[in-house]
Symmetry: D3
Subunit: 321 residues, 6 copies
């Protein structure tokens, strides 16, 4: 059982619009704080979108997610999980980004997450564009490749952009496989859709063994069936979950850089995440929330709500270790 120190501030005591906004109204800790060593799940922001090939803005994601996350309460009435009572959760602040140097910024991120890994803190990340996941994986999978469950409307498996640039938000998982961070045979992508110039990404991925489940298959088979397959693919070994908000239909998530129509509802997104229960999760992220395209905050609210669902399954996995 966790201590009161690690509980979110209740909206019945302090109204939700009051107070400096931290993720889920958790304590904000920096490494020199004594309580830092007690943290089990660290909520971290990666305010960075330098890998974005089209509409930027995801660098503002962590701040807006913090703001809207103050409307989250503590327990999940459907699954019965209250992550805050299971593990010590805290807002560990943002990594220090470098918006004008991609390679430097990736190193900064990897350094931050390597420290978390060394401390035994499981990260729950708020992006940031999808390139953010690559330097996180460099830290978490430094020893051996991990499994990966990716919710997304794009594969992000392209080789390069703009005449050879290898590091963009359209390429992280190609790099991750090439670098041996992810085991492609333990990798599944769910929700893929949208127009395409070619199938280079899909063909390359499938050749490596990645299982790509398009949105049509997701709708046809249903959530339980698809997720059962996903659980089998990743198996019992360590697995990372990356959730691109553009997985959800743009009616629910307009605030993102590269939306694709024809996606799931918010309810389906919730149901899907709950099916991650039982997986040996070593971390998760929610990326691509872009406040400039989200003037009413609906996408950030969806993002915060899905971060909470991810925290529920993540807290179970931490406890199960």
């Amino acid at each position: 059982m966790t201590t009161p120190f690690f509980q979110p501030v209740s909206g019945i005591d302090l109204p939700r619009f009051a107070g400096v906004p931290t993720f889920m109204r958790l304590p904000h800790l920096t490494p020199n704080d004594p309580a830092y060593t007690d943290v089990q799940m660290g909520l971290v922001g990666i305010p960075w979108d330098s890998g974005t090939t089209n509409r930027p803005g995801a660098r503002h994601g962590p701040r807006m997610l913090r703001d809207l996350s103050t409307m989250i309460r503590a327990g999940n009435p459907v699954t019965g999980i209250n992550p805050f009572t299971i593990v010590n959760c805290a807002d560990l602040g943002d990594i220090s980004p470098n918006p004008v140097d991609i390679m430097d910024c990736m190193e900064r991120i990897t350094t931050f997450y390597t420290d978390l890994k060394n401390r035994g803190i499981t990260p729950m990340t708020a992006g940031g564009d999808h390139l953010s996941t690559l330097p996180v994986l460099r830290a978490l999978a430094s020893d051996s490749p991990v499994g990966l469950i990716q919710f997304d409307s794009h594969t992000d498996l392209f080789d390069s952009y703009f005449g050879g640039n290898k590091f963009t938000h359209g390429t992280p998982f190609r790099r991750a496989i090439e670098e041996g961070l992810v085991d492609p045979k333990r990798m599944v992508q769910i929700g893929i859709r949208g127009t395409a110039y070619n199938s280079e990404d899909v063909e390359w991925g499938e050749a490596q063994g990645v299982r790509i489940i398009r949105i049509e298959e997701y709708f046809d088979r249903g959530i339980k069936d698809v997720m059962s397959e996903a659980r089998k693919i990743v198996g019992s070994r360590p697995t990372y979950c990356t959730f691109d908000i553009d997985f959800v239909d743009p009616a629910y998530a307009p605030g993102t850089g590269t939306p694709e129509i024809g996606g799931p509802t918010s309810f389906q997104a919730q149901q899907t995440i709950r099916e991650l229960s039982g997986i040996n999760l070593i971390g998760a992220d929610l990326v691509e929330v872009s406040p400039p395209f989200d003037p009413s905050g609906t996408t950030a609210w969806l993002g915060a709500s899905l971060m909470f669902e991810l925290m529920c399954v993540l807290s179970q996995a931490i406890k199960a270790e």
Copy 2:
């Protein structure tokens, strides 16, 4: 058959953007108007949000609902009901709110609705936050407890906020039951979801006999089955219907103070209200539309459309008396 006086102005004669906006383009009547005594269904605004615990704005709801309601026409092609030909409908204006004194404002509301009750006018209310329903029930249920069908993502059954405050938009139905305004055994809540600090509200409600149907059950069983049970619960005696716009998913209803993801679509909301047909309805309200969070007016348009659906079943009930 109603007279031409009580018919909405047609958009084929006068464009919808023209004219002083009243609810559904109905005549606006004040008590000193002779036609006031002929009114059977009174559309009333409660521009009040002083019970709001988080994001205010619902006080502006009635005005924006009036504006968007000018796009409503007269008949329901699905059910075949035209409420304006069944009963005399009119816009009775807004109650005179007091934004800085909750107790005084509740008295003002109760006084207004007691007068309506005495005149035999059935109220169709546009809120306002959900605390608005309590003083309405104090008027309508002054003789004996009524049944209640509540569409909502929250139970609003909490005991108090901020160290003992009993009157907020999170507490009205606890008060209504305690005050004997609602018979908890004839009360059903549909669509409940969202994170929770505890289950105090649910446990207390269920202990009183309230039937709480979470959104998962609503989706699993389907609308017809759930609403059939709801009709059985309230039976044939007088029943009030309160519809919080946050029942609908935030993709459809972003303009509200406390949205919860994972809700029904607008089509499902329409289907659900149509299943109220046959219930002995004595009034209805649609609350929590908050224009500051609804810059494009989509929520107010949804709200006006659902008010029309409520008017259809309400007009049937009035006629059946």
Copy 3:
């Protein structure tokens, strides 16, 4: 196989936010350009909303659709169709509208499309309000009546507005039938819903033989069944497809003048259009996208995505000629 000249600019070469925005990043051609004679499918804007009876703005539709269409890529991974490799596609610019003279503007439109017809160019139009379709049909159906598949929440079959005005966006298909441009027995309307003052439109249409499929029937029977009937109705002879963006639910398409709640999702809209495969299509349009009500561009993005789906089936039809 088409030439590189007629291929959209790739976002992997030139970022999507760069360049003068043309439809789908296609070449922009004017009649005096030599390549104009090679065009098989012409994308044309009709920036005109003078027939609008309520909220104007659709005149700005083509520009915003061009802007958002720069996010479309080239191929449809579900159907396998890449329209740009099947037929030569080009942006032919906008017709020259007259916002202050309806009759003159309709003549301008008909003249433009008659020239396209004479050149053998199949038009894919971006409106504009729904009155735009009438002068297009006057050009395309000048020889003999065509079949019509209309996706819409309104029948647009009224006789007149405001005391006798015959040409508004609520009347085009009554005129089209009266003028012998559309064969009402080969005409189907899908998605009809919303409140109504009377059923004059529906009764007149059904008396002519128009098949009107309300949204309830669409949801009950399912897309495949309904579209199978639609294909039978229009048969193998020339058919035009008109798609009013208000067919889709306002949560997905808020940016339109006369939204009606209770509509399909974006995924359902995609599935529906794909069922047009095999029809002898001679042209298509997507109308009623209204940027002033679409501040975040979500509706224009949906519209551009559905234009792409229409282009896929249209390119098949052109190839099949």
Copy 4:
């Protein structure tokens, strides 16, 4: 002294967000109301923008001006004028517009204002686009030409648009002079600016004797000097004042169809209108407020505030008759 009936509702009694919104919270009267005959100043909306050559939306102006005008109180602390105690003011509703027939709509407007003139009611109009002023002048100047003071960034003196269209919002004052409604020698335009294709408008106007004061001259000479000249130009005979909201800089009035940078502040606009004191005003209008370009309502609030300033000088003129 006016009666309580004609006083605006006080925000100290009824909060400003409550009640059906009428102009300035005045009583809303229709011709069949007995009090109609007592009205001295009639506030009228012209929800019409069919003469707009670029961005439409001014048809929604009257409704939004009514909404924001509920924040106006009763007296002008600077000039000491309370128009509501000087003359009986009322909201006479909107003219019944025809958005799809310019000539018909102009006739409707002229008929409405002829009735007002016959009743001796001085009109204070809320547009609508600037073409609205022409049919108003046809009514008010039916006997003899009037003087005109026009605040605007454009002359609206062009001959025609789009190949010969004589009636647009860029041509009303050419028509008014040609039709003998305005005496060009008693006409002054103030605030003119913006780029121009040619000086056809200016040359024609000056040839007729119109005094055109560009914004540079307005700033150089100062408000008092310029307005002193304006008063001399119109002299003591009947004069109409038309105020296009685009007179004010777009930073203050973004919500209009054709803004021009480099204009006055709101304070300067107030000071300018106050200098109309003493002129024999027979009516005034405020036009071109376009809500779709005014999402936060700041332009409508400016417009309502300037309508109040116009009412102050207009009430003085009525009293002086």
Copy 5:
């Protein structure tokens, strides 16, 4: 000289969009933090708008001001003042508001500020509506009345609203004078404007000795002259400064509940605050920033920039003690 601990984080080291947002990127301290006792100037949020008589939203002001204040740097190049090097500044968080009980919330505020006073911390407050200033003054002026400089477009000197309510954002300074918190002979109001039902507020204030400088006088005499008089009025004894953002013209500050046109520019506001130099300031506040009416954040950015100007003069005053 202050320590590095109390310096704002530099945007040259950590980008401004990164990190948990505190006022001016200062350390966030709670009373149980050892560094709390070293604070000389405490930045405090009062997220509360329950006294608002019209459009609510100021309760969200502190959070948005924190967000935008991250773009403030450290020094004032015009006056040469860097408040962060003069006194220890820190973000002390928000008071714990009660949105549903005005009297309770005022007590909470007074308690918080009494503690600050006892600790010798000078408060720089971010509101909140203008009623917030009353409970602050109850703490700061508990010993003897203070002088007051109020920048505002309204006097806030009314007696009551809605039939006798004494505590609203239109009444705080009447109460403050009545309660002996402010010496009316050492009180000056600057910028007053807007329409008025009566002059009850002005007459009462002037009868007490309050100096009311309307906006016309402010513009006529110029900033230096007016502020010289203001300094004389308050003299050398302790003085509080309250700055209502609606002092500035709505073109610069649209995000507020009760804007009044005809106000100063942002540059004039800066110049005005700088003239407070030399006054014996014991605290200051900036109130009535309302995020729901400020979708682009321009008002919050103005507010944060003016808070910085207030901090400059406040830090001088603290140092001069």
Copy 6:
């Protein structure tokens, strides 16, 4: 005299909302077009914001500037200049940016502008963030240093960001001086303001001989006096003008990444640019318009209007060569 080919399309012929949007409705030419060789002034977009240290979005500037520029007409009634009749102007499209590689993108820009220089085309650029100016200067000043007039609220003279990054939008003019592209003794910065961590930028600039005119001096001395000095500083030799939209006050230009309050009005900006008349201008740019912060397009409209003013003085300079 220019030919009709190089004239903007008139809004009296084709409504401004129609047509593919090019800068000022000029012909869009690519290098392989024969008319390219006749161009004298080339309007070029640099859709790039990778040097942005805070809020991105300026990469979308060129597209929105093109859109709003369709409201510009042809002549400047104040100065009498019609740039389109003086020199052949054309829209040369956008440079091909690389959003993920700063060094590569700068090379692409320099290559594009070197080609323009070789062809004798004078560039009028629409940014993009302020780093864009550096690679432009590398092309234009490849032979010898140029003079520079910079309108801006920031000096952009810092040495580096984020631990040594030399190329950001805060550093371009330090680099330009270091690289010998700009003669610091012929360089003047006007409008500088905003808070500052230190005066490193100012001190370094002044040590090189740069004349820095803060906003206070600009307001105190007046536009004519300041600009007379500026003309003297740059003398008769080739000079470049760079205009950062944040020079103008945020009330007029909210749509930019780093606004600073206390700036000039739009009228003052116009007057200022007109004082560039007579300078030997070899190019100009307008940068930092950021559409995500400009939802109503007011900033882009201001930017397009100021681009027109720059074109007026630039066309004079080209003609004077």
